[in-house]
Amino acid sequence: MARVVFDGVTKVYPGPVIAVDDLALEVADAEFLILVGPSGCGKSTALRMVAGLERISEGTITIGDRVVNDVPPKDRDIAMVFQNYALYPHMTVERNLGFGLRRRRTPRDDVRQRVDEVSRMLGLDELLRRRPGQLSGGQRQRVAMGRALVREPEVFLLDEPLSNLDAKLRVEMRSELKRLHDRIGVTTIYVTHDQVEAITLGDRIAVLSEGVLQQVGPPQDVYDHPANVFVAGFIGSPPMNLLKGRATGDRITVGDVELVDPQVSEGEVLVGIRPEGLRPVGEDHAGPVFDVCVDVVEPLGDEVLVHGSIEGPVADVRIRAEDEALLADGERDRARVTLRLPPEERPKPGSRLRVAIAQHTIRLFDPTTGLAIRPR
């Protein structure tokens, strides 16, 4: 078992394009760490640098006690599962599983024994004589996992291993992966752009954007206390609602609604509220309420998502400038919000809702830097 340490790791492609920028991150022994971010954020590049498939431009990567910058992939004691599985098409499942061991001159009997163990563990024993072309997507995925497991590596690297499966299989394999990791306890780095996978699988998640590490922490911490506006928007589906507000003394004004919050002193702030932090209330509710105009209602079975907008001179804050450009002029002074409601509540589009805010769920961000404002 081994820990993996990124120390100031930078990857620059000719151009120059900075794919990963000064990444500092420590993955503990036996930890399941998720690298998550939108496509092109550098997460796969970071993983491939650990594998030795990309050279490191600056900084060091340590596996165990050894700096591996100049160690070839085969000597790093890692195993990797590729997004497209990369099974050898001309070999049977059995030979695919045993390829790595055979290349390391493992005695034939040991190879057979390891292949048997792993194929039993993954339910592949019936398929050993087949070739990848004769397997379903889920079976291929399992073989790819098996090929990595067989070698009993120090570190497991998984590059979006579930992204090519259909939705149902993905959920199944997700829990299977989790069980597998709990059982064998190998240090695992898992790359995904799917934040549901990230939250459900990881001991900790590391959020990347444009090559820069945004936040690392246990999934719930990252969800509850996003370090900046990007994380607030990326982790959680639907994302956190962000409203422009103004702090004066112990109050924050959002439009014409006043919230009591003693966290900040003065000036402009972004008020972040999770969709579940908003709930409809009756006319007699005391305390601050928003009037939400309902646009779209999405019943999801176990919950209902309500997309609407808040009246008043409140500017909508988007994560990206190009999203803002999409807004029609009339919409600029209406803030869009999303509510997560229990399934029995289903407001009609066009209707109005009185919505109260669970004040303890409010997070504040600095509108210029995007960073979270910590309580004083």
């Binding site: 594998a51 030795g52 498939l53 070839p72 992939p73 085969k74 890692i78 195993a79 990797m80 590729f82 997004q83 497209n84 599985y85 990369a86 099974l87 050898y88 098409p89 001309h90 695919n96 390829f99 790595g100 290349r103 390391r104 070739r131 990848p132 072309g133 397997l135 379903s136 997507g137 889920g138 291929r140 995925q141 090929r147 070698r151 090519n164 499966l165």
Partner: protein, 303 residues
């Protein structure tokens, strides 16, 4: 054709109540005037034109010498003279020519498969200084016709002391730019992840080439083998230039030419020898055919 037997076809109208997309699954019976595809009217005569020389050659090989000069050409000689074949084998050095050609061709095909694979893999996957320039220069040599380099190559072969020997035919063609080019392009289409996975699994460069790349490149290698075989087997000019007097080093194509004298050509022998010399190419083609199917290189990837 089932459509021929159908009663005068009333084009079935799509049910007006159904949506356009719904009828898409059922193939509507098409009105046909002929019991075959109209394209056949064009293709069948073309096939005849293509086959005619071959048929004529077979017929000629079974005729007497007098019949070969008859005008208009005799398309059915009456008695089939199979002894023409026996005579060719008995009265000429056909066996020696055939053996020489086989040695030269097999050596060249095998060495091309090995050397072109090695070079092509380097061009496709290994980054080295000047890779692009060297590749470009190599490709440029493809544009130079054989006649231009005939004399310089002849001088090199002469300096190597290979004139009048089979070595003169083999050495200049041990590797070919065409083969390097073709395999490089093919290797570049193989999924790089397979090789990365093999690297992590502990395979060396050579091991990756032998165990991953080559097995996945069988269609390209088979194609190269057949093309190279045909070129070498049928090569005439280069053997004519380098095999000067030594009859025991004649190839088939040189030997076939000896049937055509300045004053008289024995067309029935030429045809019989030609047909026998075509057999290996036909056999190879039939054998290699099953590799010409679509490669399997992408079958190990996502579902």
């Amino acid at each position: 054709m089932s459509t021929v037997t159908e009663a005068p076809v009333v084009p079935s109208r799509p049910d007006p109540r159904s949506l356009p997309g719904e009828t898409g699954m059922v193939e509507r019976p098409r009105r046909r005037f002929m019991p075959f595809d109209p394209w056949h009217l064009f293709l069948a005569p073309l096939a005849v034109v293509m086959l005619l020389p071959l048929v004529w050659m077979v017929v000629t090989s079974l005729e007497t010498q007098a019949q070969t000069f008859h005008f208009p050409p005799i398309l059915w000689p009456g008695t089939l003279r199979f002894e023409n074949y026996v005579n060719v084998i008995r009265d000429s050095e056909f066996g020696t020519w055939f053996w020489n050609t086989t040695v030269v061709t097999v050596t060249i095909v095998l060495s091309n498969l090995v050397l072109c694979t090695l070079a092509a893999y380097a061009f496709a996957r290994i980054r080295f200084l000047g890779r692009g320039v060297i590749y470009f220069v190599l490709l440029a040599t493809l544009m130079v016709p054989l006649q231009v380099v005939l004399i310089p190559t002849f001088l090199i072969v002469k300096d190597l002391g290979l004139l009048d020997r089979l070595g003169a035919l083999i050495v200049p063609h041990l590797a070919s730019v065409f083969g390097i080019f073709m395999l490089t392009q093919f290797f570049r289409t193989l999924p790089i992840e397979l090789e990365e996975a093999a690297r992590i699994d502990g395979a060396s460069r050579l091991s990756i080439l032998v165990r991953i790349v080559v097995p996945l490149s069988l269609p390209a290698l088979a194609t190269l083998a057949v093309i190279q075989f045909m070129w070498t087997w049928n090569e005439f000019l280069w053997p004519l230039v380098t095999i000067l007097t030594n009859q025991s080093a004649f190839t088939l194509q040189l030997g076939l030419a000896t049937f055509q004298g300045a004053h008289q050509s024995q067309w029935h022998f030429v045809a019989a020898a030609n047909i026998m010399s075509m057999v290996p190419i036909l056999v190879l083609f039939l054998l290699a055919q099953r590799y010409f199917v679509r490669g399997i290189a992408t079958q190990g990837l996502k579902g």
